[in-house]
């Protein structure tokens, strides 16, 4: 049974399926419209953050006409009902869900729709105040950093297995995990720092999570540096590198699980800040759709990582037997 499953994971149909799922996921992440509530529109306007904010609302009643515009009553996801003013060219029915760029004037008692983005979308993402369209990056950045840590964990487990069995195959797997993990770490760092530049203002500010990914990067680099500087004997080389891999796992436990919770952090989920999207208790404060798609992406990136690791392991195995 397990053999059959492993065979499936190595087969071409599975890889095509994985590719197709990735394409769908990327499409969904970029094409899904983002819409907030009336409250978001008002808050962002009042704080001079944005004049126009995407709004998601359901039309409840058609209101009265004027010459060029038409009033509707609409209800947002929190159930707040407000009057919205829409161009006459758009014909809306009762029960239509609209995602629209919306503006608000404090002197008037209605919301003004600048442009309707989408009518009756299949899915929408909630608006995260302060992030807006930048929030989409979460669907790539968070899975990448998670995979970076999963890779490191796997490399550590393979290192232990290698020390227990002295089977070189585990060393290839540990090395492959580290190599692909290094790639994901670099991707997570780059996407994270670009994101930080546009939402926090600087590329880097030594937030605990940034520290831990930076240390992960250092550990990966030190691991490969050590491997390249070790002399004589593949087995001895593998043994010493495995020991370093296991020792360097210890600080990661402290950096990932202890430090972010006792020091201030800009990332959600640390002490003092409430996690808006994901937290450990699984409670979400906004639309759960974002959480589902996030976890789907985590799964997809993990599967991608496992596949790449498998390929690199095969390369290392071939290299080893060719040198032997």
């Amino acid at each position: 049974m397990t053999n059959l499953i492993m065979k499936f994971f190595r087969s071409t149909p599975y890889h095509l399926l994985l590719g197709a799922l990735f394409a769908v996921s990327v499409f969904v992440c970029f094409a899904t419209p983002i819409g907030g509530s009336f409250n978001d529109v008002v808050t962002l306007k009042m704080n001079n953050v944005a004049n126009i904010t995407p709004l998601k609302a359901t039309i409840t009643t058609t209101g009265y006409d004027s010459v060029a515009k038409k009033f509707y009553n609409a209800k947002d996801l929190y159930g707040t009902e407000k009057r919205v003013l829409v161009d006459r060219t758009q014909d809306l029915k009762i029960g239509d869900v609209i995602v629209a760029d919306c503006s608000y004037l404090p002197s008037e008692n209605y919301f003004y729709v600048v442009r309707i983005e989408r009518i009756n979308p299949v899915i929408t993402f909630p608006l995260i105040q302060g992030l807006g369209e930048l929030g989409r990056n979460m669907l790539f950045h968070v899975p990448m950093s998670m995979v970076a840590f999963i890779a490191f964990l796997l490399a550590m487990i393979y290192s232990i297995m290698f020390l227990r069995t002295k089977n070189m195959d585990y060393d290839f797997k540990a090395r492959a995990s580290s190599a692909i993990g290094l790639m994901f770490t670099i991707l997570a760092t780059v996407t994270g720092s670009i994101w930080a530049r546009f939402s926090w203002g600087t590329f880097w500010n030594w937030d605990p999570r940034e520290t831990s990914i930076f240390i992960l990067l250092l550990i990966y680099i030190a691991y490969f540096l050590l491997r390249s500087l070790l002399e004589d004997g593949e087995e001895k080389k593998a043994r010493i590198a495995a020991v370093y891999n296991i020792i360097s796992f210890l600080p990661m436990i402290f950096l990932i699980f202890v430090l972010p919770r006792i020091t201030q952090s800009l990332h959600p989920g640390s002490s003092g800040t409430e996690a808006p999207i994901i937290n450990l208790s699984g409670k979400t404060h906004t639309d759960p759709i974002l959480t589902y798609i996030l976890w789907t992406n985590v799964l997809l990136f993990t599967l991608l990582f496992l596949w790449m690791k498998e390929l690199y392991t095969i390369v290392l195995r071939k290299e080893f037997s060719a040198n032997d």
Partner: protein
């Protein structure tokens, strides 16, 4: 068998005094460099504790890296492998390194207290506890990593690269705890978390080093 290894290292050390003098000179150079690069500057407690632990950690990396590399250089590691069990070698080297870090820490405290006006520790007992815990963590990490580095080429440059990521929780916890002990006299509440991190890190790193040592040591 623990004590013969320790005794051997101590005797070699007493004969040459290389380790201690190198470390003390390193500290002296560091302290004077700080003094000349910031003459008469008013230093806050966070800067003071950071400088203190930077001097201590890099001093330890310089001094302690010798323990296995010197065996490798003198060609005595084969004999050691023949005559002693890996566990005994690990504990012997570990204890020797621990003594070296303790003397290093004492020297550092004396130098800093002598040269820096702003180096005022309000909670002496807690500071001593941090020094002990920091020394234990540093010496076990550096013992295992120097054994690892001794098997590689380019030995000198490699140790700091390998050790910095591993020592980082220790650096963060000790600098934070020392800053607090410099600011308040009764600091237990403030440093509790850091002391807990230090203690658990020490236990974890010492046990893991002990378990993994013979994988590095065996030929």
């Amino acid at each position: 068998m623990i004590s013969p290894i320790l005794r051997k290292d101590l005797r070699i050390e007493l004969r040459s005094r290389f380790g201690v003098s190198a470390v003390v000179m390193f500290l002296l150079v560091t302290v004077t460099t700080i003094l000349f690069s910031a003459p008469g500057a008013q230093m806050s407690s966070s800067i003071m504790s950071a400088l203190f632990w930077i001097a201590l950690f890099f001093g330890a990396l310089t001094g302690l890296s010798r323990s296995f590399i010197s065996e490798e250089e003198r060609g005595t590691s084969f004999l050691l492998r023949l005559y002693a069990e890996p566990e005994d070698i690990f504990w012997g080297k570990y204890l020797f390194n621990l003594l070296l870090v303790f003397s290093l820490a004492l020297c550092a405290v004396m130098f800093f207290a002598f040269f820096f006006r702003d180096f005022v520790v309000r909670d002496i007992g807690m500071f001593a506890l941090q020094l002990v815990l920091g020394a234990i963590g540093t010496s076990s990490t550096v013992t295992i990593l120097s054994a690892l580095v001794a098997r590689a080429s380019q030995k000198g440059a490699l140790l700091p690269v390998l050790a910095l990521p591993v020592l980082l929780p220790l650096v963060i916890a000790t600098t934070d705890a020392t800053r607090i002990t410099m600011e308040v006299a009764d600091s237990w509440i403030g440093v509790r978390g850091d002391i807990l991190i230090l203690f658990s890190f020490d236990v974890a790193v010492t046990l893991v080093s002990y378990v993994l040592f013979h994988f590095i040591w065996q030929e």
